[in-house]
């Protein structure tokens, strides 16, 4: 963990030492990209949004507290960047081609049992896309960015126990949703057999 170092780096940036931003970029750009990618499903957009976060770090550096938690702060900025982007673009008209990014994905194993797993995974991904923005943000931070509940609670401005309950509900909702999809595809295959 770099918590202490992140904090002191940020304090230096606040004093005007812009150079230190480079280190923070190296530590956080991938995580932020992951966050935005989960939220938008668009690689190029996510890259732009990552850039916006670092622009805002300099713009709002004065607001960083002496006893701040940098991880919490940068993800608060990231959420705001995403919201502003979302507000401007309302809904995504269509998904851009994901090809160049999918090439970057790790090699997928071809084993038979992996296929079923992949199908379940696809269903989960689809279920994730159907979640509301706020829920998707929450589950991304907790499950994907692996942030501590205490940090997420600070970002959302609610109590830690409220966060745990919300996350639990989302997991439940997701499971119900993708099992529902399975059931649908089962039904379809059955009706196909009948014909």
């Amino acid at each position: 963990m770099h918590l202490l170092e992140d904090h002191s780096l940020m304090l230096k940036i606040r004093q005007g030492d812009v150079e230190k931003l480079d280190l923070l970029y190296r530590r956080y750009s991938r995580r932020l990209f992951g966050f935005f990618f989960r939220m938008t499903n668009e690689g190029a957009t996510s890259e732009d949004l990552v850039q916006n976060v670092f622009v805002r770090i300099l713009k709002y550096k004065h607001t960083y507290k002496d006893d701040g938690d940098f991880e919490v702060w940068i993800f608060q900025l990231a959420r705001n960047v995403f919201k502003d982007h979302y507000r401007k673009n309302k809904r995504y008209a269509f998904r851009e081609s994901m090809e160049p990014y999918e090439q970057n994905l790790g090699v997928v194993s071809n084993k038979q049992q992996e296929l079923e797993r992949q199908e379940e995974l696809e269903n989960l991904k689809n279920a994730l896309d159907k979640l509301s923005e706020e829920k998707r943000e929450l589950i991304t931070l907790v499950r994907y960015e692996k942030m501590k509940y205490s940090a997420v609670a600070q970002i959302f401005g609610v109590s830690e126990s409220a966060i745990k309950v919300r996350v639990h509900r989302i997991i439940k909702e997701l499971r119900a949703c993708y099992l529902g999809m399975d059931a649908e595809s089962d039904l379809m295959s059955k009706s196909l057999k009948k014909e």
Partner: protein, 261 residues
């Protein structure tokens, strides 16, 4: 153990944040309630499945763009510090001297003058001042003295448009400030941004978080003013938690008013 407590412990467990002691408590609770055990077992499958979702790597373009941005900032460095930076630093440094109050007074006065003029210079100026006010507000809201934080939240209510950072700062203050008067002042400023769905949902969430009747009554008033039908469920839940008294009556009448609106 209530269902909520079990859920909280379970969430800690799957996230690897649980203490040994709590783990023991959870085990006992699950033995006592096997119906939860089965459900949680199933949910764990979903939880684990997340690990398999992969995120692609960004393209090299992202790093290149950042490099460009950083060198553009470097190029700016020899120039004397930004006017606002210097001013904010002065405010932060000399805070206790009280000069800042004077500056704020002048600026607030300054702010009201351009309102009636439409000249583009003044408009530009007023935008700059608005930005400055916002930054000052975000600085003030962290001061240790409650009086300063009240100034900040009052200032936030006067900003011409609702910036998301300002709204977030107000929501955090509403839910976390240790002084109730400051929380109430934050609420009053939030009410001015009644168009924002974020503000509306934050007030509904706050019903669950807040404990003081002083705040809950004020939130109830705001929800009536907003005619926020989406809040009825949360209001009813809160009403049912309270055994009797002035707050319970208030919540009941609030629900009725919102229903009729």
């Amino acid at each position: 153990m209530t269902e909520e407590e079990i859920i909280a412990l379970w969430q800690e467990q799957v996230a690897g944040e649980i203490t040994d002691e709590d783990q023991e408590k959870l085990n006992q609770a699950l033995e006592a309630h096997p119906e939860y055990a089965v459900e949680l077992q199933n949910l764990k499958k979903t939880w684990n499945l997340f690990q398999e979702i992969e995120t692609p790597e960004p393209s090299p373009r992202m790093d290149e763009k950042f490099e460009d941005f950083l060198s553009s900032q470097r190029a700016k460095r020899p120039v004397p510090p930004h006017f606002w930076d210097a001013l904010i630093a002065a405010i932060q440094g000399g805070w206790r001297v009280g000069i800042s109050s004077l500056i704020i007074g002048v600026l607030v006065g300054w702010w009201f003058i351009p309102a009636e003029n439409e000249s583009s210079d003044l408009q530009y100026l007023s935008e700059e001042v608005a930005e400055l006010k916002e930054m000052m507000m975000l600085t003030l809201i962290q001061q240790p003295q409650a009086q300063e934080r009240i100034k900040a939240v009052n200032m936030a209510g006067e900003l011409p448009k609702a910036d998301i950072d300002v709204i977030n700062a107000l929501i955090t203050t509403l839910n976390q400030d240790k002084n109730l008067n400051v929380r109430l002042a934050a609420l009053e400023s939030l009410i001015k941004y009644d168009e924002s769905p974020k503000v509306r949902s934050a007030l509904i969430d706050a019903l669950e978080i807040q404990e003081s009747p002083l705040i809950l009554v004020a939130i109830a008033d705001a929800l009536v003013q907003f005619q926020e039908k989406g809040s009825i469920e949360a209001l009813e839940k809160k009403r049912d938690e309270i055994s009797s008294g002035i707050l319970k009556d208030k919540l009941a009448s609030t629900i009725q008013k919102i229903r009729q609106s």
